[in-house]
């Protein structure tokens, strides 16, 4: 009961923060609100029994993402977003249609937390019952991540490595002289 209450409250705060991110025009405030959004998500993950995911979201989302966005803001020195030029009717229409289609898709989804939902019945019981005896590691998430699904983690490490190389290639070199004269604001 108390779980459900915390869940509902945190999700409501998340929705309010997301709307605030959309409407705020000061970019520094947007980045700070994004940090708050990440922390609320990490809290929500803890309530939903996902400890590893909460840890990673708090460290990576509220830590690294926020720091990198602040670094970009410091480099571009842009303080406020400009007002949008046209009325947002077309984006609102697209978003409403997509949202309605997604809600229609969730109408017959199993109830939140149902132990008999199909996602818990086919492959998961095998991992839950046998991961300790097969790998000797009590943390099931680490066992699946590192041993049963080890190839995926190899791909993930390669993706991070590639992102590092990409950032080095894009902004690791010397700053070019401006090629267009007289176009600075």
């Amino acid at each position: 009961m108390i779980d459900a209450l915390i869940d509902i409250t945190l999700l409501a705060f998340l929705a309010i923060t997301a709307i605030a991110i959309m409407r705020t025009r000061n970019l520094f405030a947007v980045i700070m609100l994004f940090g708050i959004f990440s922390f609320l998500t990490a809290g929500l993950f803890v309530v939903m029994d996902a400890a590893d995911v909460a840890f990673t979201e708090a460290a990576v989302g509220a830590g690294i993402s926020t720091v990198l966005m602040l670094g970009t803001l410091a480099i571009t020195k842009e303080h406020n977003e400009q007002l949008p030029a046209h009325r947002p009717w077309l984006p609102l229409l697209v978003v409403s249609v997509t949202g309605a289609a997604l809600v229609y898709g969730t109408l017959d989804i199993p109830a939140f937390g149902d132990p008999q939902a199909p996602s818990h019945l086919h492959v998961a019981p095998r991992y839950i019952e046998q991961s300790l005896s097969e790998t000797g590691v009590p943390n099931m998430v680490t066992a699946v991540l590192a041993s049963y699904r080890g190839f995926d983690t190899l791909g993930e490490v390669t993706v991070i490595f590639t992102a590092g190389i990409g950032v080095l290639l894009i902004i690791g070199g010397q700053v070019q002289r401006k090629r267009r004269k007289g176009n600075k604001k």
């Binding site: 830590g63 790998t135 000797g136 490490v157 902004i171 690791g172």
Partner: protein, 139 residues
Amino acid sequence: MKHNLILRVVTKLLIPVIVLFALYVQFHGDYGPGGGFQAGVIFSVTFILYALIYGLDTAQRVMPMGVLRALASLGVLIYAGTGVAALLKGGNYLDYGVLAASPVAGQHLGILVIELGVGITVSSVMLLIFFTFAGRGRA
């Protein structure tokens, strides 16, 4: 930031604690929440904190960019190398059961080694990206 005495002293006291916590999360990822990714990010935060308080030049003297590039490649090499070691010992690629005396011990050893590789790569890449962004802003 260089003239703030409280910040500098507290940073000097905190950095060893954060490094210890990162190592704890790395090696206890088997018994509790944690693992390579979280530990790598926490470890890189120590150097980011150091760079914020003591300046980017000092931080780049402590941890040069060349060392970071080598460490990032080393982590991926450790991970892929464990798979090749399993191949050389007669099993499939990334089949940890053949790495030690018994399959369960081999699995445990394999998981430990690849999480180490993941932690090294993640920490060096996060630090690399931060140093690149900070260095660009200074130019």
